[in-house]
Symmetry: C2
Subunit: 728 residues, 2 copies
């Protein structure tokens, strides 16, 4: 085992490299049950070259291959059984309204149990009787050509085996079989989880709190990473002093640990929030933060790895390297962001300008393929696929979703929901399993205790100060109880695990992995279980909207869709809408929008609403009204006929902005405000009046009691509709 030294050799592409670990690595197994034996058994038919003379020998290899295949199937069956059990137990829990244990916690428990059984219950089979030693002088090559009595066979490198373990390499086939290649998490399991997070973002609340979310995600994660890294460096120093550290542990390793452990994943808390219909803004803050902070943590960790100048043995602070690292961070992040956004935009354009929505199956397939291609594109360009997928998800939800047929909307949502559910529970049950089947754990009590303290302090050090500064600018303050809840909700989950298991080559990394695993366990079980008491203790509003309380089925159904629907926000009975006046920033009425949001955000919102949405979707004001006159033809081409043609109602994903209650029809945007019983307002409808007389000049304020609460709809016939927060 070579300690720590190889951290130095990680480049931006470090992720692509596999590790010299023997816990090998069956992706095939994950998917098919036909695993490595495809390679391992190749000798079967190759050996046939020796014609019939070695028939009996062949038969033996054949048997082996079959045996291996069966074991692969059995190991995958184990996981499926685990997931099935988890599903059935979740059902029971939901049925009985048990809330102290989330499905992910359950999956971990079952994983643990199976791990114990596999570890201590299965006999140790010693394999490797087929091995052959063969001496090379220089170094290990990735490919070997082996000459067997005149025939050449190709071998690929699987990994290093520490000399002491040669005889026990396959000491337990079953343990080996249930261990997956860590890249599986990054390339197969995380993408659907992350895409789903982006696609299911509750946009209204997310965008309303965008500034705060960005602050928590970027600044917060950086602060947390830095603080945890430094604290852990202190812990490591302490361990060195008391002689508990048996191998190298550099400062960059500590920072790396800070980065991976800063990825929060409050899936448990959010599920309970959703079930109890807790405050939507708090939900948006937590969900948005956790989604973005996964992306930040991935990029941060790879930047830290790239931070160390190659070939040097010093792991100390260096200004040049630091800025290089920041540069890499910005490069990878913005590159991945661009990839995701571009693919989303392309998908939106394709779905807008073809009539693909007549064929939901084609549409869904296209959507799936395009979203997948983001990942590949980003990886092919050297960016981070998972981050690209997140932003692709957000773009798809924001634009493409609008253009999809009704059936495709539910299909895509459901498809990714199922994938997300399976992937997430798989990861968590794998975590449970890994605690016992992973064979290179390094349990260090000091490090573990230090880490728990550090993550606590790291989170406190960004939640409270950031909230303070944010509150200076926010009208709707982040209350003390909200801050406590955010502090409390710093669970760690799938992303931290995946980042930690990705590289377990060195002693330091193994210690980090073990510690990460324990932190995930603790936070998911203890913190997850304590959410409900915490909510009531902190006096956080729950039951904001519980229309389904009586109907158990409906309620449960609702409950389960944790953050699923981009547009499943409760009807906007707690919000007022204000339509901003065309160009002037001053709006009449009691609500002052400009106080609400930053100049940059307002600029983006107006740009998005006036140009991007009309170009990319069937909604928004016609481009002919928003673009200057000289690009009239282009504008006409790009504007969807649906915008003019009232026969097909506007396809708006922002159901937030369309009030369907009462008898008010608010076709928002530049175009129209039609309202039954409105007080003589000038309803200049572009659609009704032929699509040309567009510039609406109605300045009257339409006021209409919606009958839900006592809030008002104050709309000014203009260009911009703005959601306001008045539930402070």
């Amino acid at each position: 085992m070579e300690p720590g030294g190889d951290a130095a050799r990680f480049g931006p592409g470090w992720a692509a490299r596999a590790l010299p670990q023997r816990l090998m690595l069956l992706l095939l197994t994950l998917l098919s049950g036909r695993g490595l034996h495809v390679a391992a058994a190749a000798s079967s038919s190759s050996g046939a070259a020796a014609e019939d003379s070695s028939a009996m020998e062949e038969l033996a290899t054949e048997k082996e291959a079959e045996e291996s295949h069966r074991q692969d199937s059995v190991s995958l069956l184990t996981f499926i059984l685990l997931l099935t059990l988890t599903i059935l137990t979740i059902w029971l829990f939901k049925h009985r309204r048990v809330r102290f244990l989330h499905e992910t916690g359950l999956a971990m428990i079952y994983g643990l149990i199976v791990g114990v059984i596999l570890r201590y219950g299965t006999p140790a089979t010693s394999g490797h009787d087929k091995s052959l030693s063969c001496t090379q002088e220089d170094r290990a090559f990735s490919t070997l050509l082996v000459n067997v009595s005149g025939k050449f066979f190709e071998y690929t490198l699987k990994g290093e085996i520490s000399p002491g373990k040669i005889n026990s390499v396959e000491q337990n086939d079953m343990l080996r079989k249930v261990t997956f290649d860590p890249e599986v998490f990054f390339n197969i399991l995380l993408p659907p989880i992350i895409f789903h997070a982006g696609y299911s973002l509750k946009k209204r609340h997310f965008f309303r709190n965008l500034g705060s979310i960005l602050a928590y995600a970027f600044l917060g994660t950086a602060v947390s990473c830095f603080i945890i890294g430094n604290l852990m460096y202190g812990v490591v120093k302490l361990m060195k002093m008391v002689g508990q550290l048996s191998d190298k542990f550099y400062y960059t390793d500590c920072l790396f640990f800070g980065a991976i452990i800063s990825a929060t994943d409050p899936v448990t808390v959010l599920a309970i929030f959703n079930e109890l219909h807790a405050d939507v803004d708090l939900y948006a803050l937590l969900f948005g933060e956790s989604v973005l902070n996964d992306a930040v943590a991935i990029v941060l960790s790879s930047s830290i790895v790239a931070y160390q100048p190659a070939g040097l043995n010093t792991h100390t602070f260096d200004a040049a390297a630091f800025f290089k690292s920041v540069g890499i961070f910005l490069g990878i992040f913005s590159g991945s962001f661009t990839m995701g956004a571009v693919t989303g935009v392309v998908t939106a354009l394709v779905t807008k300008f073809t009539k693909l929505h007549c064929f939901p199956l084609l549409e869904t397939a296209l959507f799936f393929l395009m979203s997948w291609s983001t990942f590949l594109l980003a990886e092919a360009c050297g960016f981070t696929g998972v981050v690209a997928v997140l932003f692709c998800g957000i773009t798809q939800a924001h634009y493409t979703y609008n253009n999809l047929s009704v059936e495709s909307r539910s299909r895509t949502k459901q498809l990714f929901e199922v994938l997300h559910f399976l992937a997430e529970n798989f990861i968590f049950s794998y975590m449970g399993l890994a605690l016992f089947t992973f064979q290179k754990h390094v349990f260090s009590p000091i490090f573990i205790i230090g880490a728990f303290v550090a993550i606590f302090l790291g989170r406190a050090a960004h939640i409270y100060p950031l909230s303070f500064f944010l509150n200076l600018g926010r009208r709707h303050k982040i209350g003390w109880n909200f801050q406590q809840m955010m502090m409390f909700s710093g669970l760690r989950g799938a992303m931290a695990f995946a980042l930690a298991i990705r590289d377990t080559a060195s002693y330091a990394r193994q210690m980090m992995f073990t510690t990460t695993l324990l932190i995930v366990f603790f936070t998911v079980w203890i913190v997850g279980g304590g959410t409900t008491p915490m909510l009531s203790w902190l006096n956080i509003r729950v039951g904001v909207k519980e229309p389904f309380e009586e109907d158990q089925n409906e309620h449960s159904w609702q409950y389960f869709r944790v953050g699923v629907d981009p547009d499943q926000d409760p009807p906007p009975n707690n919000d007022s809408f204000q339509v901003l006046q065309g160009d002037g920033p001053d709006s009449a009425g009691g609500n002052r929008t400009k106080q609400e949001s930053a100049w940059l955000f307002r600029l983006w919102y107006s740009f998005d609403h006036n140009y991007l949405k009309p170009i990319l979707t069937h909604s928004g004001p016609p481009l002919t009204t928003t673009l200057p006159a000289w690009c009239g033809l282009l504008a006409h081409c790009l504007t969807s006929p649906q915008v003019y043609d009232n026969q097909e109602p506007l396809r708006e994903e922002d159901s937030d902005f369309i009030l369907t209650e009462g008898d008010l029809t608010l076709t928002y945007g530049d175009s129209t405000v039609t309202a039954n019983g409105s007080s003589g307002s000038h309803t200049a409808s572009t659609s009704l009046e032929g699509g040309r007389k567009t510039k609406s000049s109605s300045e009257e304020v339409l006021e209409q009691d919606l009958g839900v609460g006592d809030q008002k709809i104050s709309s000014r016939g203009t260009r911009l509709v703005f959601p306001l927060e008045d539930n402070a």
Copy 2:
């Protein structure tokens, strides 16, 4: 290249073995873009063992790994681009109502084009500079331990390389990258296709024609296999005579070719049938035959491989071996069938006895996992996963589907529909690609021409005689035009390709593969394109029911769901229903059921209806009425409360049997026939009368004109409802 000789060494598990081909094999690529480099690049961090001294070398390996990863991503992107293009073109075709080219044909064309570009357009990169030769004496092992200056590395066998090609092994990286492990088809792409086929079986028409379908699938495939095999043996003899055969080609190889090429896949024809709403019985015959005959062909081909006694060099006929082969066929087939059915039944029980239907996501996930586990279970037990999956699909559709919530029904259908669509088009575009990128084609004009003649004769030799014999027993004869259409629809597709590519080690197999590819191309393009003219030329009824003709969207939507919905049959306006009397086989009225169906089938139907459905689903008559009195308690436990409790309407998947038109409510089975305006019939409803007074004794014939055509509903209050064919 070792010719033919290894066909002898295939056991029942032959499928598990990979082949010594250099067209290697990236499953990882298929899924993640992170391919083989995981293994190939392992040297990167392993080599780090040599500490910093070899840092520059490491960096080079690193670069290589990154490069490899990028290439993987690019190759997968190629396929995604292909599929996206296909989808867009299909949309255009559907939009313009072009019917001469099906999406699968299109996928092949695009594949071909990309294949040509890859083959002739990309520069040949020569890799393998990292290789090292190392001499072994005896034979190739599956695992190698290599000692590099005191460190041990593990290598796995990838395959054999023919000596002449050592220097050109990776002559074209791109060609290599786009070539997948053949097992990918069997373990990843075929299962969703086959499951979907089973799940989407239009049960009414399928079961109505079950006898004929079974005859075509089992007898027909066997006959076809035998005839093609013998004809091809003749062709091979001929080739030997004229000196065109450069290597061994045994009789068993010919039979094997007969087996793989007997798997028909009339996907193109069926799509057009569905679009034109051609005769449903013909559709059922074709679809049912093609689905079952895939299963038969798989098992048949592996039985033929097992037929040859191990270690012998003779490939001649041997009675003992033949019976052994038949035994293996029966064993594998019945084993796989049992696996599939059992998993389906377990899923049905789980979904019935838990209230999982409150949580559609959980339900869908469970359904997916259970269906997948069938595959693994069968593979783990040494049966054929694909066949098990087919029967699991049928069982799920027949029982489990009943128990699912409405949302889960559409979710599961849509999920598997998308998977099926993607997998199918992927396979077909891969086929197009393979024609140019596969590097071991053996084009033999005589063999190819012989094969075309043989498959024609082979199909003729079972369609016409079998139809003749079947017509002796069928009331609703299979007309001459139907026979011609079935003859014409003998397309070959994904299954034949997957079986052929599975083993391309020997000369004979390579020739078979090339021929199969050409047959698939020809049949899909020419036969697929000729379907519409053929239908009109043969005077086969189309437009049997075209309710959506006017509405283009709806129509297209309908069109696209090729064989998707188990219960999307047209409303039963062309069928009459007859409720059989309890035990007596004689039924009154003009329709004589017992003539219609075989005794065995009737027995099964009654067993299924009276016992299986009530046990496994929420429908059917209460078990308390069908089971003997002494198992009353058990019956009561097993019977779903829904059966008694009318508040939740009966969940019947057999929408065929429930007439919802007019004001007639036919809650079929033992229980009730309620009809408004029925002529004073004794409507003894179990559900309405408390669930105990069950044995209905109404003998009156309810006759009611449905207003659709002039057929009658003749029902006799009893135990069994039977669909009849009267559209002869």
